[in-house]
């Protein structure tokens, strides 16, 4: 039946609601496009043969057939667009949550065009953010919550290695170590799940 492969793509999105980004279904997308091409060609053929048939009755039926195929075509198109659009929206969110560099497991799930889109989105965002604050730039992904104090106690959840602070000193972030750091400089690491804030 037409349109069934297309809806599978959408269902894949629903199934993976809790994942950051599922792998791109390249072969399925290809199949849907093939189906659309086939539909288009059949319609094309029927339209050309239409001039030969004279009966009004059969012409009516032919229109119906063509229209059914066409609506299948539009349906497939809608599913494809929705599939790609939703993926882009998730990708956009990933930029805000993970930052400009995606973890490799996620990066492997992108297709080439998505990589290009992601990179240009990153650079657009970076340009925009650097223009803010009278040209001095501001990182919009930070400071989502109002800070209570300048420094926070954080706990390191994994071995991260040396982390250079703005004052030139380094903090060694090894697993299960606790640190007291300026919020501004470690907020990103908290967002990325490397550090955990501890409220005492």
């Amino acid at each position: 039946m037409f349109g069934e492969k297309a809806i599978e793509l959408i269902k894949d999105l629903i199934r993976s609601k809790n994942e950051p980004l599922p792998p791109y279904k390249a072969s399925e997308v290809r199949e849907v496009i093939d189906e659309m091409n086939a539909l288009f060609e059949m319609n094309q053929k029927d339209v050309q043969s239409q001039s030969q048939t004279q009966e009004v009755e059969s012409q009516q039926d032919l229109f119906t057939v063509i229209q059914v195929r066409h609506s299948a075509l539009l349906w497939n198109k809608r599913c494809l667009i929705a599939y790609h659009y939703q993926r882009l929206m998730r990708l956009k969110q990933l930029r805000w949550e993970f930052g400009g560099v995606l973890p490799t497991d996620i990066r492997n799930n992108l297709n080439d065009h998505e990589v290009v889109w992601f990179n240009s989105y990153c650079s657009n965002l970076a340009t925009y953010m650097s223009r803010l604050n009278d040209g001095r730039g501001i990182d919009l992904t930070l400071h989502m919550k109002a800070p209570k104090r300048l420094y926070v106690q954080v706990r390191c959840l994994l071995d991260y290695g040396d982390y250079e602070l703005e004052d030139g000193t380094t903090a060694v972030l090894s697993k299960d170590s606790t640190h007291y750091l300026p919020l501004q400089q470690c907020e990103k690491l908290i967002h990325q799940g490397i550090l955990e804030q501890i409220l005492t």
């Binding site: 039946m1 037409f2 349109g3 809806i7 959408i10 269902k11 999105l13 629903i14 809790n18 994942e19 950051p20 059969s58 039926d61 032919l62 119906t64 057939v65 229209q67 059914v68 066409h70 609506s71 299948a72 539009l74 349906w75 809608r78 599913c79 667009i81 929705a82 659009y85 939703q86 969110q93 990933l94 805000w96 949550e97 993970f98 973890p103 497991d105 996620i106 919550k145 109002a146 209570k148 926070v152 919020l183 907020e187 908290i190 967002h191 990325q192 799940g193 955990e196 804030q197 409220l199």
Partner: protein
């Protein structure tokens, strides 16, 4: 083109909305009132070239819409929208499991009404009435249910249609925010949701592979 012409050529706002697409892909049973030549391909189970008058078919809603627009089929209101169910919903909508009927009960019903199905007007009325009856309970649950009764809460949430669920979540998030504001809890800066879910998946996968390694 009739299909896009109905929207006046512009893209509707829910064009890329997943819920709407899924609702449209649900099947309804249709009966052909006219025979149509060479349309046999839509009925894959029967191997004939034409569709005869009176043929009964299960078609996805989007296709039924096209055919109904040309007056070729009549659509039987599916379970949940027919006379019997309308009466049930009328009696007490709050006990019906809309998730089982839906899960996009309202969206699907809306499309049914829009395609001028028979009983369309009754269906529309029933939808509004159902929502009206259920809304109060949703609000009540989302603003009062706490973590102390996870079982009831879970059972209730399982009964909801997708758009009701959205409403419910919205309400309970608001409640959380208000509570937080009342208690003046310190805002803890947390890892982003996606980061957390990625980590969980990784851990689950590692545990799984470990188990497989020990099994073999």
């Amino acid at each position: 083109m009739a299909a896009s012409g109905a929207n006046g050529g512009r893209v509707p706002s829910d064009f890329a909305a997943i819920d709407d697409i899924v609702a449209l892909s649900k099947k309804v049973s249709c009966r052909f009132v006219k025979s149509v030549a060479r349309l046999g391909f839509i009925d894959q189970s029967a191997d004939c070239e034409h569709v005869a008058e009176g043929t009964q078919l299960e078609l996805p809603l989007w296709m039924a819409k096209t055919l109904a627009a040309r007056g070729l089929i009549t659509v039987d209101p599916p379970k949940g929208y027919n006379q019997i169910y309308r009466e049930i919903l009328d009696a007490d909508a709050s006990v019906v499991d809309l998730h089982k009927l839906g899960p996009h009960f309202y969206a699907f019903g809306g499309h049914l009404v829009a395609m001028n199905a028979p009983e369309g007007e009754e269906i529309a009325k029933s939808l509004v009435h159902t929502f009206h009856q259920r809304l109060h309970k949703i609000m009540d649950f989302s603003l009062n249910a706490s973590e102390d009764t996870p079982f009831e809460l879970h059972a209730f949430k399982n009964n909801l249609d997708s758009c009701e669920l959205e409403l419910f979540e919205e309400g309970s998030n608001c409640l959380k925010d208000v509570k937080k504001w009342e208690h003046r809890t310190l805002d803890q800066i947390c890892a982003n949701d996606m980061v957390v879910s990625l980590k969980k998946r990784k851990r689950a996968m590692m545990a799984c592979s470990e188990r497989m390694a020990t099994d073999s």
